[in-house]
Amino acid sequence: MEGNGGNGGRVYVGNLDKSAKKAKQLVMGKLRIGKAVDWATAFSLWPVHLTTSCCGCEFAATWSPRFDAEQHGALPWVGARQTNMILIEGTVTKKMACAVRVTWEQMPSPKFAIAMGACAIDGGIFYNSYNIVRPWEIIPVDVYIPGCPPRPEAVARAIIELQRKIRKQRVVSKWIEEGWRPDKEYVKPKEDPCSWWRG
């Protein structure tokens, strides 16, 4: 038993996992609202506030009045627990990789990732730097945006692409039915990105 949450069988909380499973069967099997869930998630992609590098400038500009990505329902939000999208903005350094991975693990599924900028694809201008990692080594990326930095229009376009992907491939309803992302492999970093911190 660990802490006070180990038994999970108290009367007034009940076994959350079991009841969640039952509710899932009821909702997804009988009511068939998978399509609505896909629609809702597509228009509610909230990126978490994690600026990894200088593409953050254009990230900020994407939510500025001129481009206003909030039109598409995306609202940058503060905490990792309340969001469902991570937008890697450019280079991820070895020190930042830990933060990226931890943030990704903190986010509740179903979650999505957009990698922004040339650095996030293959290092870009810093390709031979000794202090960077590729984001796809740490988290599974859904959409890549080329450019150094990409224009805000490109970022908005990536959000629309992701929306289209979610609705076409029914990513979220499949996640609810099967419990994992069918279109993405689980990425486990080869080496622990937080080893420098854990010592």
Binding site: V48, S53, A61, T93, S129, N131
Partner: protein, 412 residues
């Protein structure tokens, strides 16, 4: 609690910090960042006693992309886009001093037209960067309208820069011996229109942000840096000028056209967060003046290639035609592989956040032997450690926003 022994000046300046890791264990330790809305790409480890910050330890390096090392392996001119990534919203200001250092080693002076062009883009960048700072500052104290307004108006300046250089942020505009492009024909009208627009908008900024009672209450008397301590900590830019230090690299060692244009350097005495906001606000006004003058000068004088003859004389006639038609200076391929004579040079320029310094050492090869960059944010980072203690937790975003700290620039 142990106190630093601080030379002779200890009692005089009152600059007492506590040694990290030696403080009592029972204080509440809060990690602010790197995934935290109150910090950009950095972490500040604060320890709080009640609501008061006892110790703040900036933990930088989350965006350290090894520019100094990479520069040693790249050709001289390929380093320009590399260094630009330090502060892409302020690209021209950040790279112009590297170019000046190269010109000092090459012993050439750009033609006056190139100087004015660089000055023009520098000031456009400065306004854009100040507005960026204002936006982040606004969001840090919960004022989302300031963020949206300043980012909306920043687009005006970004677009102006785009007309001039072809890129939104990463212009790579200055090159050794000149600038990459002349102004387009319709640029002066657009620039004047933008200046008029900004003069009108700045009043509205003042009303909603600087004179807003809630904002004033949050900013006044927060993060005070007295003049002597500011000098001791070596802070730069608006932070120093808000503390009464009249230092601006544009005045101290005029580069480009800054000794010919008229402008003032706003200096405030209070040294608190509000004064720092006001410095930036007044600087935007001065930048508008400089833009007007530079545009007038460029319009009055005939178009000529804004690049030193050493590079331009060897160009084939076709490229001169390209310049006539498009105003674009094509670079010689030898420039990419250019070898600099051995020598050492240092140059400084005033970016939006303060003075940036390049130390460039050449050993006669096509790549630098050593480039040392000291960026304004790297010098201002020390403020967290010495100024934040003693203020409340809710003042930390205020201090962070007011010194306009930009981690990619600080970490290089």
């Amino acid at each position: 609690m142990s106190v630093w022994v601080y030379g002779e000046q200890k009692s005089e300046l009152g600059l007492e910090g506590t040694i990290t890791r030696k403080i009592e264990e029972d204080l509440y330790e809060v990690f602010i960042g790197p995934q935290h809305p109150g910090s950009g790409h950095m972490r500040i480890i604060i320890r709080i006693d009640g609501d008061i910050i006892v110790e703040a330890d900036p933990d930088m390096g989350y965006v350290h992309r090894t520019m100094e090392k990479l520069a040693e392996g790249r050709e001289w001119i390929k380093n320009v886009p590399l260094f630009e990534r330090m502060a892409i919203q302020d690209a021209c200001n950040v790279t112009v001093s590297y170019i000046i250092a190269l010109e000092r080693i090459l012993d050439i002076e750009p033609p006056p037209r190139a100087k004015y062009l660089r000055t023009l883009l520098c000031e456009i960048n400065r306004i854009a960067a100040h507005l960026y700072g204002f936006g982040i500052f606004g969001v840090f104290i919960g004022h989302s309208t300031m963020y949206m307004w300043s980012f909306a108006d920043r687009e005006v300046m970004v677009e102006l820069a785009e007309r001039l250089t072809g890129a939104r942020l990463t212009h790579s505009y200055p090159i050794p011996g000149g600038a990459r492009k002349d102004i387009p024909q319709d640029f002066p009208q657009a620039a004047r229109k933008a200046v008029r627009y900004f003069r009108r908008r700045l009043e509205e900024y003042r009303k909603i942000f600087l004179d807003n009672p809630v904002t004033r209450k949050r900013l006044e008397g927060v993060g005070i840096i007295p003049k002597k301590i500011a000098a001791e900590l070596g802070v730069v830019g608006p932070v120093a000028r808000a503390s009464g230090i009249k230092y601006d690299a544009r005045l101290a060692e005029p580069y480009d056209a800054y000794d010919e244009v008229e402008f003032e350097v706003p200096v405030f005495e209070e040294g608190d967060a509000l004064a720092r906001a006001w410095v930036k606000f007044e600087e935007i006004k001065q930048s508008l003046r400089i833009i007007e003058q530079a545009v007038d000068w460029l319009e009055r004088h005939p178009r000529e290639a804004p690049i030193h003859d050493r590079f331009w004389a060897k160009s084939p006639p076709l490229w001169k035609k390209v310049f006539e038609a498009e105003g674009r200076v094509k670079l010689l391929p030898l420039m990419a592989n250019m070898k600099l004579p051995p020598g050492r040079a240092m140059a400084r320029s005033e970016t939006a956040r303060g003075e940036i310094i390049y130390y460039v050492e050449s050993d006669g090869k096509s790549t630098p032997y050593r480039v040392r960059i000291v960026s304004p944010s790297a010098r201002n980072a020390i403020v967290f450690k010495y100024i934040a203690p003693g203020y409340k937790v809710m003042d930390l975003p205020t201090i962070y926003g007011s010194i306009d700290y930009f981690p990619p620039e600080a970490d290089r």
